[in-house]
């Protein structure tokens, strides 16, 4: 099997660089698809597809505005990501010390492999 469907997982949805780009762009406010596609330098169908994924995981909302469809950010789904990664904060702060010690051990061990 390939990776789990991006459709049901925020972590998968933001694994795609261009989708992260879209989210960043939307912080500035709602945007129609065409404008997003243009700013991302990709064809419109591509932008629509990414927006669909983002919509399905709930990171984006859309509303009709006449001929256009405005997409807007709903960042609540990113909170779990922030919290999960935050659970490692103490570790990346300790990292320097730990790695120093660790590298030391390796050197003394003769640095195999």
């Amino acid at each position: 099997m390939a990776r789990a469907a991006t459709t049901s997982d925020v972590f998968n949805a933001i694994a795609e660089p261009q989708r992260r780009e879209i989210l960043v762009l939307l912080r500035a406010g709602e945007r129609p698809v065409t404008e997003l596609a243009q700013e991302l330098g990709m064809p419109q169908p591509g932008a629509s597809k990414h927006l669909r994924v983002l919509r399905e995981v709930g990171l984006v909302r859309d509303r009709k505005a006449g001929k256009q469809r405005l997409y807007g950010l709903d960042a609540r789904g990113l909170r779990p990501v922030h919290e999960w990664s935050g659970g490692f904060e103490q570790f990346w702060n300790e990292s320097f010390d730990r790695l120093d010690a660790y590298v030391h051990v390796l050197e003394q061990a003769g640095q195999e492999e």
Copy 2:
């Protein structure tokens, strides 16, 4: 093309649930592959593969310990994830108000599609 190679991107590496599990387990300290495989309820080759991906993006370090190979956490690579998602913090806090207003607009507009 499929998604970009997970090998060169931390966001892709943590898109896989079991890899996130591994990182969490490693917060408790270094572990040999077999033990991780057992705790994750997956065959050893599977654990080795996930560990390889994590190693290639730098989230994990390994050192030989006799017959075993101990894997340890190097959480520094998660910092960018935390910071990126943190860039949306103000938005998920505002979300309730915004969405309330937003839903209101939709209702008044006649709630199309």
